[in-house]
């Protein structure tokens, strides 16, 4: 679900890349990570097996920049495509605002595509969403292979509700950005419909009118890209032989960070055990000192009495 945070002046949206195993979902994210303007993408985090198959999810934060005074960010996820990881797919799909279904165009893969699409519909339904009403874009990947289904065959088998579709060769970066642009547009369009005053203009062209390039013109507002970046490369391992968490590339610091909250005054509602202990010590010291002083005074009084 889209999160609108007026305190941070941020809009956060979640896009999930779905599809059968080895259809190119992670490759799509890798291309976005490599080709998107440096400061606007964060770390690409992959929870993958030794064989580089996605185990839980890949995650890439993308900062679109300022949109009407709000920092607009996309959290892009992929799911593991293999059939037996359905429980993790369902978890990643939770709260998705838009979906890219990456289908494998290679002849012989249609059954896997259909099964995965059916699974997507079922999992969306479990989250209370209908596939025909969810912002979704189909990407027909691997179009460079020699033996592929025709676009008509792909459309007939997979796109019964006339969702926007794109041809792609994700490995070469072809079709990756138009797909992402289109789904991002659909997500922001839905957001605009639900949260902006009625007179606000549409974000994307009407559904089905643009299906090949995802392009649209007529930019009327100023969009600014983030300007500061911290370039780091980090690789970490969980230590388990089956799971590897990889993180690489540049981190957006200026746009990603929430303001640090620091307190100037001590809280008064609760007293901590340490402080309580300290206060008890002070009282004990006071009582002991008073007792000693009283004893000394009594002794002095006795001495004075003897003298007199």
């Amino acid at each position: 679900m889209v999160q609108i945070n007026f305190s941070l002046k941020e809009v956060n949206c979640k896009i999930v890349y779905y599809g059968p195993g080895l259809s190119g979902k992670t490759t799509n994210l890798e291309v976005v990570h490599q080709k998107a303007p440096g400061p606007s993408v964060g770390d690409l985090t992959s929870i993958a097996t030794e064989g580089d198959r996605t185990l839980f999810f890949d995650f890439l934060p993308l900062n679109l920049g300022q949109v009407a005074g709000m920092k607009t960010k996309f959290q892009i996820y992929t799911v593991p495509g293999q059939v037996y990881y359905n429980s993790t797919r369902k978890l990643v799909l939770q709260g998705a605002d838009g979906v890219v279904f990456v289908a494998d165009s290679k002849r012989g893969k249609m059954d896997e595509n259909i099964e995965s699409l059916k699974n997507l519909g079922e999992n969306l339904k479990e989250h209370g969403l209908d596939i025909s009403n969810t912002p979704i874009v189909l990407q027909y990947n691997k179009r460079d292979l020699p033996d592929v289904y025709s676009i008509e065959e792909m459309e007939q088998a997979l796109n019964s509700w006339n969702a926007p579709h794109f041809e792609a060769v994700a490995r070469d970066g072809h079709g990756v950005f138009p797909t992402l642009k289109r789904v991002a547009g659909l997500v922001l369009e839905t957001l605009n419909e639900n949260h902006a005053p009625r007179r606000s203009p549409s974000v994307v062209a009407p559904k089905g009118s643009v299906t090949t390039d995802g392009g649209s013109t007529a930019a009327t507002a100023v969009a600014t890209r983030p300007t500061k970046a911290l370039n780091t490369t980090a690789t970490s391992s969980t230590g388990r032989s089956t799971t590897r968490v990889r993180t690489t590339a540049s981190v957006v610091r200026t746009s990603a960070q929430a303001p640090t909250v620091r307190t100037g005054t001590r809280p008064t509602l609760i007293t901590s055990p340490r402080r309580r202990k300290r206060q008890t010590g002070i009282w004990m010291g006071f009582i002991v000192a008073s007792t000693v002083a009283a004893t000394v005074l009594l002794h002095l009084a006795g001495i004075i009495q003897i003298w007199s």
């Binding site: 999160q3 609108i4 945070n5 007026f6 305190s7 941070l8 956060n12 606007s40 770390d43 985090t45 999810f57 995650f59 934060p61 920049g65 949109v67 009407a68 005074g69 607009t72 959290q75 429980s87 978890l91 990643v92 939770q94 209370g128 969403l129 209908d130 009403n133 950005f177 642009k181 547009g185 922001l188 369009e189 605009n192 639900n194 949260h195 902006a196 606000s200 203009p201 549409s202 974000v203 995802g214 392009g215 649209s216 013109t217 007529a218 930019a219 009327t220 507002a221 969009a223 890209r225 993180t247 960070q257 929430a258 909250v261 620091r262 307190t263 001590r266 809280p267 609760i270 055990p273």
Partner: protein, 168 residues
């Protein structure tokens, strides 16, 4: 007629500055009392809500996504064991540790701390902080929904930003 789908869509989380200020005050108090390094409040989808403390060395967005994923996976494990969910998770490291506490049913409080404090202290004060934040979330839920929360120019501005960003 409002369908289930519409209902879920209308549940989009909107945080207003005045609410975040109240949450920040609680987090700051918790930070000082518990002696933790930083606190991140994250929603179940992995989006950051707010944070406090020393977050300079942390990639907040990635941590938020992984925390949400970790929590979701653990919840499924809990269900398999016949529990609704595990309300507190704890990951111990050599230097830093992290405790995750559920706040209401939508947000997770991630507390990063080192050996300057103890897990007992963090757990003790996290419980109080979570209860206070839950009250705020209940308060937010009771408020009437505001319409037209985004700027009227959002549509055209988004279109421009997408064209600008995806210029190849």
């Amino acid at each position: 007629m409002v369908t289930d789908s519409d209902h879920l869509r209308n549940q989009r989380i909107v945080f207003y500055s005045e609410d975040i200020e109240r949450i920040d005050a609680i987090l700051s108090e918790f930070l000082e009392l518990s002696g933790s390094k930083c606190n991140l409040l994250i929603d179940k989808e992995g989006h950051m809500v707010t944070s406090c403390g020393d977050t300079d060395s942390i990639d907040e967005q990635s941590v938020a996504a992984l925390v949400a994923g970790s929590y979701a996976a653990t919840r499924e494990m809990a269900k398999l064991l016949g529990e609704d969910e595990f309300s507190v998770l704890f990951h111990q490291g050599k230097r830093d540790s992290i405790q995750l506490s559920m706040v209401g049913d939508r947000t997770i409080l991630a507390t990063v701390f080192d050996d300057k404090t103890t897990v007992g202290m963090v757990r003790l004060y996290a419980r109080t902080a979570c209860e206070k934040m839950e009250e705020i979330f209940e308060d937010i839920a009771r408020k009437p929904k505001r319409s037209g929360t985004l700027d009227a120019e959002f549509g055209s501005s988004a279109k421009g930003a997408l064209d600008f960003f995806f210029t190849e």
